[in-house]
């Protein structure tokens, strides 16, 4: 899908998602990244406003200077010119101990509290569709100070009132529930970025709330593509589209268009 307006040249959805995600990252912070769009977004941040962002991969790559898109969170691009090539025990312990500011994840299905399903559609014992499972997602969602979800397919099949399976903890059932369950205090989902807009979580209820609409998208479309009611605040901004500089860098990160370009 290609989106254009009169002042901006055409960009594609994946470019927009990466740029939005990238801009959330602050320099001199640590980010844990999953496969695909998350890695590209973190690498884009590293090459633009956050050159000292510490990128960490669950398989043990710490602080690489990512040369080109890794196609796996464990491949050697994830520890290219890294400060350390270590173990999963090391990086997951670092998360559990409080070192990781951001976790960037994909999500198959999400509910209003930012809980995520990547395990099964249907019944666990006899699933209609068997998905890969948590991987490192449950760990990221449990430990990182702020988790960001990137989804390209917001619809009534992915923004669900009730998930078939809660793989990864969002705000669980609302304020205070994470702490009550024993999860580390003061951390949880922060943003959800989809093809329609950018969402946060309302402070008192921890329910999904719209922050900005992507160019050309309406509030009606946002609501129509969700099983649950999305909170709409009085002030909703418009997402800044990708700049030419960002788009050029994305092409350098992913020259074969494995992630960007769709």
């Amino acid at each position: 899908m290609s989106i254009s307006d009169s002042t901006q040249s055409e960009y594609v959805l994946s470019e927009l998602l990466c740029c939005v995600a990238s801009r959330l990252l602050e320099d001199n912070r640590a980010v844990f990244v999953g496969t695909g769009l998350p890695i590209v977004a973190a690498t884009l941040a590293q090459r633009t406003h956050a050159p000292h962002i510490l990128i960490i991969f669950e398989a043990g790559g710490v602080g690489p200077q990512v040369p080109v898109l890794p196609i796996s969170v464990g491949d050697s691009r994830t520890f290219y010119k890294a400060v350390a090539a270590t173990s999963m025990h090391d990086v997951m312990s670092a998360s559990q101990a409080g070192y990781i500011d951001y976790g960037f994840l994909g999500a198959a299905a999400i509910d209003a509290y930012g809980n995520i399903n990547t395990t099964v559609i249907g019944d666990w014992k006899q699933p209609k569709v068997r998905l890969p499972g948590s991987g490192g997602a449950n760990d990221v969602g449990s430990f990182c100070w702020r988790t960001v979800y990137i989804m390209r397919n917001q619809s009534t099949r992915t923004f669900m009132s009730e998930l078939d399976f809660i793989t990864t903890p969002g705000w669980l059932k609302g304020p205070g529930h994470r702490e009550k369950a024993g999860l580390p205090a003061g951390c949880g989902p922060y943003r959800v970025i989809t093809q329609l807009g950018v969402y946060g979580f309302e402070e008192t209820t921890k329910l999904l709330q719209l922050h900005s609409l992507h160019p050309g998208v309406t509030v009606e479309e946002v609501q129509a593509n969700s099983q649950f009611k999305i909170l709409i605040p009085d002030k909703v901004t418009v997402t800044q589209p990708p700049t030419e500089v960002e788009r050029q860098i994305l092409r350098e990160i992913d020259p074969e268009g494995m992630v960007i370009g769709k």
Partner: protein, 339 residues
């Protein structure tokens, strides 16, 4: 009356790979040699001796990075059945084993997906038709810490992930209150796999192995498992190990077999040495969309070849491996349009 730590909740996942620490200590005392013995044997012999039907099997590396594929193909060739596989970060390894009918149960942190390449047809089909049962869920870190507990010779280890989710509910973890902070904490049971497989860049004949790049979970997994088979790109002299003892990741006394298998991770990536063989993985993912295609793949590359050497010849031999080396080493020739 004895006071126990109160179990507040339990996951309903099947408990796999747990052993009483005293039972395992006695087993180690009686079955793991502490002597410096030449353990070099063929892949065929290693699988024959150390991989049994029904074993709880774990594979080192990361699913399609540094995977001992030569050993996995041999497990299929020897017709192993009812394996219980640790889906720790399983990608290509578990998919081929499932496609070949070797697997009956999986404990799943990650399986049935090929990361960016998409979902794994053979794995998904097996679970969705009930041929393979996922008997427990877990997360990557929690699985890693199951192996840490096994390495430490303890019965369980407390963790702060899994809490509040269905992943916990379908795991074999238990929920208690930490006696110090009074906060809820999950206990994951130790995992002591029956057999673990690793591919490394270099190893001496006794089993002292070095690993280049990330360790993933290999440090802990090698020490937690009862039997350990290592395939290595090359066998080096003991002197090379002793010159740089800080580079030893797996020590000889946990190792049972050493196999010299250059290119032994193909088609998975071997850090610094060769890239994924995307063409070959694509062939698998395409053929494995059907039962017939899966058979075709296995006949061509596993059953129809005598050994791993013949397999390598069949997919392009030295020419192919050289190309994969160039891609891995980020050399300009990776941009050539020839394939």
């Amino acid at each position: 009356m004895e006071k126990n730590l109160e179990i507040i909740a339990e996951g309903e996942g099947e408990l796999l790979g747990w052993r009483d620490p005293d039972e395992n200590r006695a087993w180690i005392r009686d079955n793991k040699s502490r002597g410096l013995i030449d353990k070099c044997i063929s892949v065929q012999e290693a699988v024959k001796r150390f991989v049994k039907d029904g074993d709880y099997l774990a594979v080192g590396g990361f699913g399609h990075i540094r995977i001992p594929m030569a050993i996995i193909y041999e497990i299929i060739r020897q017709g192993r059945r009812n394996l219980v596989v640790a889906g720790k970060t399983a990608v290509h390894d578990i998919d081929v084993l499932i496609g070949a009918g070797c697997v009956s149960k999986v404990e799943c942190a990650y399986a049935f997906g090929h990361e960016l390449r998409g979902l794994s047809p053979a794995g998904r089909r097996a679970v969705e038709t009930g041929r393979v049962k996922v008997v427990a869920e877990i997360s990557n870190a929690a699985f890693q810490w199951r192996f840490l507990a096994g390495m430490m010779g303890i019965p369980f280890i407390p963790v702060r992930n899994l809490l509040g989710t269905d992943t916990f509910a379908k795991s074999s973890a238990k929920l208690v209150r930490d006696p110090w902070s009074n906060k809820l904490v999950a206990l994951v049971p130790a995992a002591y796999p029956d057999v673990a497989l690793f591919h490394v860049p270099r190893c001496d004949k006794y089993g002292n192995a070095q690993i280049d790049g990330i360790l993933v979970e290999d440090f802990e997994l090698a020490r937690a498992s009862r039997r350990v088979i290592i395939s290595s790109e090359e066998i080096i002299d003991e002197e090379e190990i002793r010159r740089d003892p800080q580079k030893t990741v797996i020590p000889f006394y946990v190792v049972d077999a050493v196999c010299e298998v250059p290119c032994g991770a193909h088609p998975t990536l071997m850090p610094y040495l060769y890239y994924f063989d995307e063409e070959h993985i694509h062939e698998w993912l395409t053929l494995s969309k059907t039962v017939e295609g899966t058979e075709e793949y296995l006949d061509k590359y596993v059953h129809g070849v005598v050994d791993f050497h013949e397999y390598l010849e069949r997919l392009g031999g030295l020419r192919k491996m050289t190309k994969l080396k160039q891609i891995e080493q980020l050399r300009p020739s990776m941009l050539d349009s020839d394939s």
